[in-house]
């Protein structure tokens, strides 16, 4: 039944490049993990062997995801969603392990990884089913609720990084699913603006509730107002259609974001602020914060053009680099492989993502397109968040690097995604 024959298989469309790229990255991953653990703290644990076993299991899972008719997922999606919801809720009832509740069986299974795939399947089905009424507000709200329910449960673990990865997934699927762009902009602009403003305010240590803070905030808003007036003036001189309307709309959204951030941070107590900082930057205590980022940047920078050579990276070998086999595996690769190695790795990820987008493009139905879109967005987001973190461009969020970081759940989820991407491109009615 699972291997339904209602679809033909287009062997020509089997994406060897996607599969091979994933496998090559995985091989690099095992090599990097070997380098990360071959000396120092974890030298006795033989983690790379565990990773090879997990890779084998992941490949089996990928084969299953490849062989089944992906439309089966369509019919089971709401049941999956309900099960996932239940599991994530139950997870919150477990006692905390070092402050968080992310794992089952002492860290062996991370439900969030699989919850994301379930969410993508469900959202693909919903948006696919509703594509005729996709532009109405009700669809937007319903789809939003589907996402927010999972986002909330993952956020409560707490796992801010995982929660944040849901945002690009949802937005890209909303967009492809035909949700009205105005609604998306209503989400994106104030969200981005208030995020940036909050980080800016916390970084500068402004206390908006104080009189100096209010003056600063006032100057801030006033400067912003001048900018808007200038933009309005410039746009009114051009012949851009609906230009004034757009300026009004965008500046209103931005203002909403800024005010939200100002009021939000103004209402925060000091301890809440530091909690927020450590949310964004969980690995660091507030006083010695940035240690991981600093060490990661040192490792990458010391790699230079051609790198220090395999197994030779001192930041890695001497354990100065924290979590070097999980969150900072990219830093290991960049330290030992240098600029050339790191760029090569980035190219591999680029190919992986490009082939994934191609799969979405080539899918035969709306469900397949949306499914592929969500999966690619998921992989791409994690790659960007993880490498961005290693490069010091983004805050530390604890998102693993797909296919490279040590960890079974992430590897399994990524290969299931790749199996589905291959699957979506392969099948036709």
């Amino acid at each position: 039944m699972l291997l339904a024959t209602s679809k033909k298989i287009r062997i020509k469309e089997f994406d060897v490049t996607l599969l091979c790229t994933a496998l090559i990255i995985s091989v690099f991953g095992v090599l990097a993990i070997f380098s990360a653990v071959h000396s120092g703290l974890r030298s006795n644990d033989r983690l790379w062997i565990a990773q090879i076993i997990r890779l084998a299991i992941a490949l089996v899972a990928m084969s299953v995801a490849l062989i089944i008719d992906y439309r089966v997922l369509h019919s089971f999606s709401y049941i999956f969603y309900a099960v996932g919801f239940l599991v994530l809720s139950v997870l919150l009832l477990f006692p905390e392990q070092s402050g968080v509740r992310r794992w089952f069986m002492g860290g062996a299974v991370q439900p969030s990884e699989f919850a994301k795939i379930i969410l993508i399947i469900t959202l693909a089905r919903y948006l696919g089913d509703k594509r005729r009424v996709s532009r109405i507000f009700k669809t937007f709200i319903a789809a939003g609720i589907i996402v927010m329910a999972y986002a909330f449960l993952i956020f409560m673990q707490p796992a801010l990084g995982y929660t944040l990865t849901l945002v690009p997934i949802a937005l890209s699927m909303f967009y492809i699913g035909g949700i009205n762009e105005i609604y998306l902009l209503l989400l994106i602009i104030p969200g981005v603006v208030s995020g940036i403003t909050t980080i800016f305010i916390l970084d500068k240590g402004w206390n908006v509730a104080s009189s100096m803070g209010i003056i600063k905030a006032f100057i801030f808003v006033a400067a912003y107002g001048c900018l808007v007036l200038l933009a309005y003036y410039l746009v009114s001189r051009t012949r851009f259609k609906n230009g004034k309307k757009w300026v009004k709309f965008i500046s209103a959204c931005v203002l909403a974001g800024i005010l939200f951030a100002l009021i939000g941070t103004g209402m925060l107590r000091d301890y809440q602020k530091s909690r927020l900082i450590s949310f964004v930057d969980p690995g660091s205590d507030p006083k010695g914060s940035g240690y991981q980022i600093i060490q990661s940047k040192i490792a990458i920078g010391a790699g230079g053009l051609i790198g220090q050579g395999y197994l030779q990276g001192t930041q890695n070998r001497l354990d100065f680099l924290p979590a070097q086999h999980t969150d900072f595996i990219f830093s290991v690769a960049a330290e030992e492989g240098g600029f050339l190695g790191a760029v090569f790795l980035l190219m591999l990820y680029f190919i992986l993502i490009a082939r994934g987008i191609k799969a979405a493009d080539k899918a035969d139905d709306a469900f397949g397109t949306l499914l592929a879109t969500g999966l690619v967005a998921m992989i791409a987001t994690q790659v960007f968040m993880n490498i961005g973190m290693a490069l010091g461009l983004m805050p530390i969020t604890g998102v693993p690097l797909p296919l490279m970081s040590y960890g079974g759940s992430s590897l399994l989820a990524t290969y299931i995604s790749i199996g589905l991407l291959l699957n979506v491109r392969l099948k036709r009615e």
Binding site: G40, L41, N44, K287, G288, Y291, Q295, K297, I298, A299, I300, G301, A302, G303, G304, L305, T314, Q315, R317, L318, D319, F320, A334, G338, F339, A342, V343, L346, F384, I387, G388, L391, G392, L393
Partner: protein, 558 residues
């Protein structure tokens, strides 16, 4: 992202490479072993070095201590950390980490743990990489001659200008201080590759080798030194044994003393002890000399022609002075009878010396002149810090001054070491040498400290010398004599305001060819003949029989 990679890895690579090197390459101090201090035979160390193991943790690893597992807890129990101590250590580490000054550099959290614990920690290091054991040379004092050897302590702020670096040790007293340059050696450095825990993984070039400190041999004879310390045990006082032929100190003990090994941890207790254990009474203690000063008074009287060898005074046990209601007593209440200078010294007759002062005009300034001739009121210049010079009154203004001074009382103060010089003058018939504690290499010429030739006739000296022999032959101090070696000496019982008399004995042996001179001082010990003289006898016995006499005695007792 590629731009960022290029920025980090190509534009800024030199900066980050340096940061990376700063992380992993750390200069490590190579502490040289301090020079060993030997006794005079260069065989037995009095102060040497052992290996001490310190437990260190790099401040940036404090979280790992906070989240310790059972095994690590067990380790801290082994190290005898109390929960409060443990918390204090954690707080200190947190503070250091926050200060960001060398947060990677391990700091000592427990010094000098026992070897079993160190071995256990080293074995289990892979489970607790943040706990680092570091070996270093540690000074070990063998418990003898604490005041002479002195001690070492951590450098103070003022030493940092003199080429010392933080955590260096510096000699603070005794030979350790005086021969600091000789003993300390030169600190070495090496560059080492360390991991994030501060564990040294391998050495890198370049290395500046540590230059071990050079050793010194003291003049001390360890057996004699130990004898002196045993004799003084439980008392307060000083014993000096010196070779009169060259001024070498064979033994110098001051009690109470201290244990230099544990001084640092008991500093307040020892420093505030009213018994003042840090004071080297042999060189820094100032006491009235009592009757031993009569040697100098006798020299003055004979040499200035105030009396001759046969001049006699009658002692009926008391001496009256004008305008003084009470008589001054001799220590023999019914009197010594007729006394000449020889007998007066042998019997230590006070009345004879009162007569010299009042009837033969031996004035305070005259006594002062001769006292200075014998080297009083002047430091001997021994190579130990803090030596005192004592004081000798020059003009007897007050009525009691003269009568006090002629029997070595009053404002007169001397150190035991000055008395050692006085008895050496007697032993050498007119010369004494500057006391030395460092054994000179062959040919090191003794430096003359006191030379009476041309000032005091040999005849005068021989009169007094013979009297000193008489003291141990037939006087009070027969216990200071030996059956087969003729000794000579003088007792003193110095009155003082603190209680019983200070008990003095100074002497030398053998009489004809002196090899050893001793000074015994027991604070508030009582009569010199009863306390100090027998101790001198034991010192002589130790020197001449090398402990065999006591050995034989022990055997016969068994």
């Amino acid at each position: 992202m590629i731009v960022r990679l290029g920025y980090l890895q190509i534009v800024c690579t030199r900066y980050y490479t340096r940061r990376s090197e700063d992380n992993r390459i750390r200069p490590v101090r190579l502490v040289p072993p301090r020079g060993v201090i030997y006794d005079r035979y260069g065989m037995v160390p009095l102060a040497d070095n052992e290996t001490a193991f310190d437990v260190c943790v790099a401040p940036n690893n404090v979280e790992r201590l906070e989240n310790m597992d059972e095994r690590a807890r067990d380790v801290f129990q082994r190290l005898n950390f109390t929960p409060t101590e443990y918390e204090a250590v954690l707080n200190e580490l947190r503070k250091l980490k926050r200060s960001r000054i060398a947060a990677f550099d391990p700091v000592i959290i427990k010094e000098d743990i026992d070897k079993d614990a160190a071995a256990y920690l080293a074995e289990n290091n892979s489970h607790m990489p943040e706990i680092i054991i570091r070996a270093r040379p540690k000074r070990r004092y063998r418990g003898s001659a604490a005041h002479i050897i002195g001690y070492i302590a951590l450098v103070g702020r003022e030493d940092l200008q003199n080429g010392y670096v933080l955590n260096d040790m510096i000699g603070r007293d005794g030979v350790e201080a005086v021969y600091e340059e000789h003993l300390k050696g030169d600190l070495g450095w090496k560059m080492a590759e360390v991991d994030v825990f501060g564990r040294i993984l391998r050495d890198l070039q370049p290395t500046v080798k540590a230059e071990p400190g050079r050793g010194v041999s003291l003049t001390l004879d360890l057996a004699l030194q130990k004898k002196a310390e045993a004799l003084l045990e439980g008392r307060t006082g000083a014993i000096i044994a010196v070779d009169p032929r060259n001024g070498e100190i064979l033994a110098m003990s001051s009690k109470p003393d201290f244990d230099a090994n544990t001084l640092a941890s008991n500093w307040n207790e020892i420093g505030n002890d009213p018994a003042r254990p840090l004071l080297n009474r042999a060189t820094m203690g100032e006491y009235p000399p009592g009757s031993i000063f009569k040697i100098i008074v006798a020299t003055a009287a004979l040499e200035e022609g105030k009396i001759n060898e046969s001049a006699r005074f009658y002692c009926n046990g008391r001496f009256y002075i004008e305008n003084w209601s009470r008589p001054f007593k001799c220590h023999k209440s019914d009197g010594h009878g007729f006394m000449d200078i020889h007998n007066a010294l042998v019997e230590s007759c006070n009345v004879f010396f009162y007569n010299l002062a009042y009837k033969r005009d031996v004035t305070v300034s005259l006594m002062h002149k001769y006292a200075l001739m014998y080297g009083l009121e002047k430091k001997t210049g021994i190579n130990l810090s803090g030596e005192c010079s004592g004081s000798v009154p020059e003009i007897g203004g007050r009525a009691g001054d003269k009568i006090n001074m002629c029997i070595g009382q009053g404002d007169l103060l001397v150190t035991p070491l000055q008395m050692a010089s006085v008895i050496c003058v007697m032993a050498n018939r007119g010369v004494s040498y500057k006391p030395r504690i460092i054994r000179q290499p062959q040919g090191g010429k003794p430096e003359i400290l006191v030379d009476l030739s041309g000032k005091v006739s040999l005849r005068t000296i021989d009169i007094i010398r013979n009297a000193l022999m008489g003291v141990v032959k037939r006087g009070h101090s027969r216990q200071a004599n030996l059956p087969d070696h003729q000794t000579a000496g003088k007792t003193g019982s110095a009155q003082n305001s603190h209680g019983d008399d200070h008990s003095w004995f100074i002497g030398f042996a053998p009489f004809d060819k002196p090899e050893i001179a001793v000074v015994i001082l027991v604070e508030n010990g009582g009569r010199g003949s009863e306390v100090a003289a027998p101790m001198a006898g034991q010192m002589f016995a130790e020197y001449f029989y090398k402990g065999q006499a006591t050995l034989a005695k022990e055997e016969s007792e068994e």
